[in-house]
Symmetry: C2
Subunit: 414 residues, 2 copies
């Protein structure tokens, strides 16, 4: 048996008794884990240096090395993250609904753990602590597959946390880190149907696409955001300006940043030059349709590719549209279904937009940047789902749970 088969099977075994571990033990484990991280800071940093040195020697870009690098502050943040997860209400055991049938059968729909959750991620070692914490809180076993560049760091964090968790009463085997750095190991993980219950890829578009298209294990897609802001004919100009600027420039490298601006033809001549100037003053490169080209200096023509692309950068493509209908059609054609906003004074256009735009989050008069587990008030975030099955939009702890029908009778038969 390969490492993945052995560790997945151990995780599955542990998941049976983990499912009924009470909140008090899970919370004790999270506190013990946070303390252990703090106490093991030197060891973790020592291991992290091996990864960082190798990355530098390997000529990895600076941004890559920065994501990999740990320091006292980052380890303290991981510990703090575990304590925040501890403070959240435990979703497991909640009765979602229940009723009694005419024959006296009592049906209760109970929230239970998924079983075994696997997370595939890239170079940030803090995901290791975050993922383990979220899975322990939801009573799931976890099988982690981090980037090979972060292996020493991930092992140090995982070893520290699992020792602490088991000491606190979490069943042994519930936390597994895959050390096999062969690329085929991802394929093997994707084949563990029946052992791993859900697979969550966290990383670049390439990783997510590979997993979504090839996995036999059910996947939660945490996807790309080609987000749109549509500025309607009737709107508050100041509000439109601030929402566009914020959606695009507040943090351009994340999935809820706006990539496209759609603006109504009637208001474009007046408003677009002002918006464009402010965007350009914040170093945003502008591309656009021929009409936008006429109105904005320094704007270059957008290609068909542009309308599809998630730039994750200080670039924005602008299209002038005739109506809310044309805005909705454009979004329907090009959006990745993440977040879209309308800025309008017209309630009917707002209603059309929210009912016909098929995205995880649809905004009226607010920035797309709010699509985020913490901004929504969840206190934790597994990621932002752009699929429609199971979880859609920012995912809190509940995304790591499933439901079970518990049916109690007094001898009923059909």
């Amino acid at each position: 048996m390969s490492e993945i088969q052995i560790k997945s099977a151990e995780a599955k075994r542990a998941s049976v008794s983990l499912a009924s571990v009470p909140s008090s033990i899970k919370d004790l484990a999270l506190e013990t884990m946070a303390k252990a991280l703090e106490d093991s800071t030197d060891f973790i940093l020592e291991q992290n240096h091996k990864d960082v040195d190798a990355a530098i020697a390997g000529g990895r870009p600076k941004a890559f090395v920065d994501r990999l690098l740990l320091n006292d502050k980052r380890i303290a943040d991981m510990a703090e993250g575990l304590r925040q997860i501890k403070a959240l209400p435990d979703p497991i055991g909640e009765i979602i609904s229940g009723w009694t049938r005419p024959n006296g059968l009592e049906i209760a729909q109970r929230r239970v753990p998924m079983g075994v959750v696997s997370i595939i991620y890239e170079s940030r070692p803090n995901v290791t602590a975050d993922a383990i914490g979220l899975c322990i809180k939801t009573a799931n076993s976890v099988v982690l597959k981090g980037g090979s560049d972060a292996l020493h760091s991930n092992q140090a964090i995982s070893d520290t946390l699992s020792a602490a968790a088991y000491k606190a009463g979490i069943p042994e085997g519930a936390i597994q880190l895959i050390c096999d750095t062969d690329r085929n190991s991802v394929i093997e993980l994707m084949n563990q149907r029946g052992v791993i219950d859900v697979l969550i890829p966290r990383g670049g578009a390439g990783l997510i696409k590979t997993v979504v298209e090839n996995s036999k294990v059910p996947v939660i897609e945490t996807g790309a955001g080609n987000c749109h802001v549509y500025v309607d004919e009737e709107c508050d100009l100041e509000m439109a300006l601030s929402i566009v600027i914020n959606s695009k420039t507040h943090r351009p490298g994340v999935c809820n940043a706006a990539e496209k601006l759609l603006i109504h033809r009637k208001i474009a001549p007046k408003l677009l030059p002002i918006i464009a100037e402010q965007l350009q003053s914040k170093s945003v490169e502008l591309r656009g349709c021929p009409e936008a080209f006429e109105l904005v200096d320094g704007l270059t023509p957008a290609s068909e590719e542009d309308w599809h692309e998630e730039y994750l950068d200080l670039i924005m493509a602008i299209k002038i549209v005739d109506s809310v209908d044309e805005a909705i059609s454009h979004i329907t054609k090009y959006s990745t279904g993440h977040s879209e906003a309308i800025v309008t004074n017209n309630i009917f256009n707002a209603q059309r937009f929210t009912s016909e735009v098929d995205s995880a989050a649809v905004y009226v008069n607010a920035s797309t940047r709010f699509t985020d587990g913490f901004e929504f008030g969840f206190g934790a975030e597994i990621g932002i789902s752009t699929q429609k099955l199971h979880a859609r939009g920012p995912m809190g702890l509940e995304a790591l749970t499933t439901l079970k029908y518990v049916v109690t009778g007094t001898g009923q038969i059909r």
Copy 2:
């Protein structure tokens, strides 16, 4: 473009306006469709005869021909099914939850259609009407791929229903039947990620396995049931007997029928011979572990394969166990996660069983045969999901919906 690409794209286009069609129009459409089925009975039967004649000429087994055959009663039942769907509450538009953030943003989680639902099914033409009805009620476009043996029947039903639906105000293009009978067309359907939102295979284990393992479109698995009844040491003997007999023999060919009996060692010598005799008197073939072999005449030894198998037939395998723990371990190892029952007087064993057995439905002192959308009171059933993502257990209309966050602000930015 292939037929599948064209029809999927048409379904997707129609889904945008279909999403906001009000309940009154959807219900009018369902009534019009029911009436149209009744009015077109002769035409549908005529087309059905072509399929039936071809099946008989092709030497198909009697059971196959029977599933394919329509008559006045079966068409009337389809119409009645549409009227039952009409009578159900409309799940679309329900606000699941909503709250206001400290910054004043109002967040509402609204139930919305999936978009485009595709159903792949085998020879029963009544699934055509059922699937179209469920999708119209939930404002989903539907792309159907029925068995090639039922093509004339399916076309007649689909043409009748779509004409009626469009007349009532459902957007044209919302109902699509794939006529391409090439086996590769299933593969093409599974590749329509981004156009088709969810794919539901309804049919034999082979079809389901192929779809689950190869689809790039998210799948809801409606799966196999290797269901267990565990009879505990302390139990009501009459109740144990009636639950085992009912779970196994009431309708042995369906997925919620019990396939395995686990019985506690302390009670087996007294109870097992009585259960076995009654099962045998109902023509159930018994297989079992060596100890069961000692206690029951006419029982043959069970192989390792037996413990995995879903017989869907009058066969039951019996294992004697030492404890509720051994029963749970056995179920964890061999169950398909559909339905399992414990018969016990002991509340602690009942609690252990319901919390540790990881199946969609877990029963205390009732027959496994109740895992069914109608028995649960849903008024409709899409199928029974054995996966943990999105929907688990009997699926009602809600399984064909997803959620969308509608966020309303007054100019909020981050």
